[in-house]
Symmetry: C2
Subunit: 211 residues, 2 copies
């Protein structure tokens, strides 16, 4: 049995494919952090425990924040449909196997190594190249350069490019969100409609709440 | 002396006035919370310590979260200019005077009582009405209704409306953000440009960082 809310969310996204970014919030000590990320895919869409997948660089602060505290909330404002989706849950990183310390208990039933590799090969060459820039957030030394584009694994043209792709692949991580609560606000109807969903013993319970 | 980054942000907003919402993140215990809010105005634009003003209902969970932990971060994705502004700082509520417990140390130099009243009278009648709905987030009892529109203070047509406006005005609060750090990412240039700003002793320091 699938999560009832997901059909509604994917329906909005399929009509508005450019609404593919959301704000991802994490906590660093007692300070909230929030940034835009690109939604990549849902996994387990037909199960009661669907997952959201985005990607990040293991060297970014958010990766350390998630390793310390896996609580997360996303806010997805789908402007064309006037829907706000807030999804609260746990965030997990799927990094390169050399970063073993970072891996939490990943949801079973998926080949995460293959999923990470497949996603790396699917994102744009420009995004792939971004993973071999210097450490994100550090001072930019004048004159520093890094590739603008990188090919998928195995498609390098020479040894320099091979090394760059391998570095990028080492820094590349899936960021997987396991939803526990959903807060869905519809701004189009007047009065607005707000519905919350929470999973208990593998079942999603739905509740109409005051907006 | 004004904050250098603010001119750049207000320039983008004046060209794209519909980019007037951002994600506001707070912390509830160790859990991050994030939701969309509407930017209302900047205050102190010509000072080194500008403020961002949005509005909220004192009865919403975010109000209690801010009263407990004033750390906040916003993420403002201005899609038409491909700019992401993350602003980290402290959040303060300016509620009705009956909620004295909620007020932190508000920045001096402003008449907060008047600012709150002026803003209440400026937002749309529909937004004003939203402040006299039942407690946000509680179960919606079937058949519950609340006004669709409310006039500004003093412009009520009868006693019923007067009571509704007064209730709305009691629940209405300014939410003021005092910026301490700014992370500005420009996605249009390749390679992307990322600049951070932090205030030290009343002066904003700028740094070019790796995106
Ligand atoms: C439209 C847009 C999409 C972005 N997508 C991603 C993404 O999918 N993953 C990611 O790590 N950062 C993405 N970023 C950059 C982040 O917003 C952020 O600047 C960066 O990841 C560093 O975040 P952190 O310092 O909190 O770790 C995107 C930025 C924008 C403006
Ligand atoms: C486009 C949009 C704009 C919104 N603007 C505000 C706002 O300015 N202030 C506010 O309190 N809530 C606003 N909301 C509703 C919040 O996102 C949220 O649902 C509500 O404030 C409850 O948040 P909380 O439970 O975290 O306190 C807006 C929602 C949307 C979709």
């Amino acid at each position: 049995m699938s999560a009832g809310w997901l059909a509604r969310l994917t329906q909005a996204l399929s009509k508005h494919p450019s609404s593919n970014t959301y704000s991802l919030a994490t906590v660093e000590d007692k300070i909230p952090r929030v940034r835009t990320v690109v939604h990549r895919t849902f996994l387990g869409q037909d199960t009661p425990a669907p997952l959201l997948v985005t990607t990040t660089d293991v060297r970014t602060p958010k990766s350390a924040q998630i390793a310390d505290n896996w609580n997360t909330e996303i806010c997805w404002w789908i402007e064309p449909t006037q829907e706000q989706w807030r999804i609260t849950g746990n965030a997990l990183l799927v990094p390169h196997s050399k970063h073993t310390g970072r891996i939490g208990e990943l949801p079973p039933g998926y080949d995460w190594t293959e999923e990470r590799q497949r996603t790396f090969n699917t994102v744009s060459g420009r995004i792939r190249a971004s993973f071999c820039r210097p450490v994100p957030g550090t001072s930019l030394e004048p004159g520093t350069t890094w590739p603008e584009q990188l090919p998928p694994l195995g498609e390098w043209k020479n040894d320099v490019e091979r090394e760059q792709v391998e570095t990028a692949f080492e820094n590349f991580a899936l960021l997987v969100i396991c939803p526990l609560e959903v807060d869905f606000v519809e701004l189009k109807p007047i009065p607005n409609i707000r519905t919350t969903y929470a999973i208990h013993d593998g079942k999603w319970e739905e509740r109409a709440v005051v907006p």
